[in-house]
Symmetry: C2
Subunit: 386 residues, 2 copies
């Protein structure tokens, strides 16, 4: 019997392992690492657990002896880091061990340092391979991209990763015409929404959602105690002007609440000294919107979110806010929960989108579905940035 794993199998395991850090590593990437001994047998695994903590390689190597590591093969989802940051350089750490070979899934996305980690290893006489799916029945490249997608996107485009999330009926409605939407999806789906919040830097909703539903917008999951951030799309300052009336202020610290405000419009509607002073006191948490040809530009909004250090935002609603980003193709991933119900006439996230040809349809790439009881979660990425 052969107890060895192929590189592909080890990499699949490393990807699985990498996801375990998804709630706490941001803005670092999720990374997983698997170590095989000289016979290709499984030795150890590790993942990057939290921002500032040891990298995946270090966690995987921890406790292994030099003897065990002799001629070993280290498989890691992302190129080992070249430079000392919050932790020592992983490439240097690996270079000093008696291992034989390192296979990494993806190059460091920073073009200035990409390949530097590999170079350190090569100089130390190690075999170094960028993952090559040829010869395997399953190509894991997309899985490698996916597990680190927020980090990769941030680096490649200097933009915030925007996820759109909504719950819909089979016929694409997010609420009845009268606004009723409790509940479209089941408790299992709604529970998973908190996990989605936890893997993003912030949750965004439109002002009307705050006014109508008065949501907490925090992460309600056992064992997750994250100071979550929120963004309120509030051009007219409707929420900002009476913030204290809403529940979300009880669970979010003031510095974690961001507002998208149209200064002109909001002052026109709230022309008081008091509102002026609110604007001033919150200035570091306000993102000022400006109009281009009468419309807000989601691309500019993205830039400003990125400038504020928000690397990923989960946009949860309402339907109009979702639609704003959707129709302007300013989104990277969609999470839609589909309930097996038909609502008929109602509110939708796509009613303002007009296509004259099937060629212009919005497509979710690499889509996957998951079951939550009878509900489905369909998720896919946009093809616009690939």
């Amino acid at each position: 019997m052969d107890f060895s794993l192929t590189t592909n199998e080890a990499l699949a395991l490393a990807i699985f392992e990498a996801y375990r850090g998804s709630q706490r590593v941001a803005p670092n990437p999720c990374v997983g690492c698997v170590v095989l001994d000289q016979h290709g047998r499984f030795l150890a695994k590790g993942h990057h657990e939290f921002y500032g903590g040891p990298h995946a390689e270090v966690n995987a190597l921890n406790g292994l002896t030099e003897e065990q590591l002799k001629e070993a093969h280290v498989i890691v989802t992302l190129e080992p880091c070249a430079h000392q940051g919050k932790t020592p350089s992983c490439a240097k750490t690996l270079a000093n061990l008696p291992i034989k070979k390192v296979t990494y899934g993806l190059k460091d996305p920073n073009p200035l340092v990409a390949g530097a980690g590999a170079e350190i290893l090569k100089t130390a006489g190690k075999e170094v391979h960028l993952y090559n799916p040829a010869g395997y029945d399953l190509d894991l490249t997309q899985e490698l991209e996916e597990v680190a997608e927020i980090f990769l996107f941030n680096f490649r485009f200097k933009k915030t990763f925007l996820s759109l999330k909504w719950a819909q009926s089979l016929d694409g409605k997010t609420a009845l015409l009268n606004g009723e939407s409790k509940w479209i999806t089941n408790p299992l789906s709604r529970e998973y929404s908190h996990f989605l919040r936890s893997i993003h830097d912030a949750t965004m909703v439109g002002a009307n959602t705050i006014v109508e539903d008065n949501p907490l917008l925090n992460i309600r999951m056992e064992n997750v105690d994250k100071k979550s951030k929120i963004v309120i799309f509030d051009p007219y300052g409707k929420v900002l002007v009476k913030e204290k009336e809403f529940q979300f202020t009880e669970v979010h610290q003031s510095e974690n609440i961001y507002y998208l405000i149209d200064e002109l419009e909001s002052k026109r509607i709230n022309p008081t000294k008091q509102f002026e002073s609110i604007l001033e006191s919150k200035v570091s948490n306000i993102i000022f919107l400006d109009k281009t040809k009468g419309f807000y530009d989601p691309l500019k909004i993205n830039d400003k979110l990125f400038d504020k250090g928000l690397k990923s935002v989960l946009i949860e609603g309402g339907a109009k806010t979702i639609q704003f980003f959707l129709k302007n193709c300013e989104w990277q991933r969609i999470y839609t929960f589909i309930a097996p119900i038909i609502l008929g006439q109602g509110q939708s996230y796509s009613e303002a989108i007009v296509n004259h040809s099937m060629e212009n349809k919005i497509r979710l790439n690499y889509s996957k579905s998951f079951s939550f009881g009878a509900d489905l979660l369909l998720s896919g990425i946009s093809g616009n940035y690939n």
Copy 2:
């Protein structure tokens, strides 16, 4: 090592086996049978293969010796038949064998004969059990109902089993506003549509679908050579009057083409002697529609389809025809293919449905999903008749 199967495991296998007859047993039910020896080990399986052919029990028992059958346990998805029909009574056949025990999944749905098969077996000294899921981790009752759902429905309600099938975008659209819909779903999904046609007695579409798409409406599957039937919802006689212009007449025999015709309206629009004579010559394949308070009544249509011997109809479109049955709750199963695309404004099967409360939503019960590449097929039954 124990080589035996539990009754639940044998029944699951029998259900799986039963499905193998789904394209050819109508109007009989899909039935599967598994035989376990006196030690509970798997001996044989069989299913009802085609209408008029040997029943599942006979196919399973075929070739087994009396020695093998001594103290055997026969597990069958539906109560063994009591009376001689096109084939001998299965209950009597089983009664004459040295088997010990018969477990059947569901009672014969005909209240006049339900239990008669079991009675014959009991009189012959066999242990007879109606399936009881207690004690098993998986209750197979719903699966038993599902595999024979058309037959059970026909018997219980004396009505035609109506399935609605459509392809939609994620946002519930079946076409763009301009009618373009080629293609929403992928070739794998479209291929499976032919399987769906093959498990129904007939395929129904509205007249506009014929006029606009000129479809063949036949079953294009390898190894399936079925004289399929079609129903055209053609109240104004638009298709009937110029039938020969359409492709479907090349692949369907005249006696397999049914029309839903509003006699008054169709004669008003086609006031010719020639049309009158078409109506007369086709009379046995025409289902005359009449209006109640200005509307066609889908319940009455169902009755008339049943009178014509159509035990199951797959309603494929267009969106208006689907909607007619959907909003009147005159449907038993929905098959919807969901493509991971967003179309925005377009045609929908639910735009004429108005709900003022979430309580009135249309719900698909026991829904399941299947993947066809990136497309999903979601299917579920109506709760209205359970």
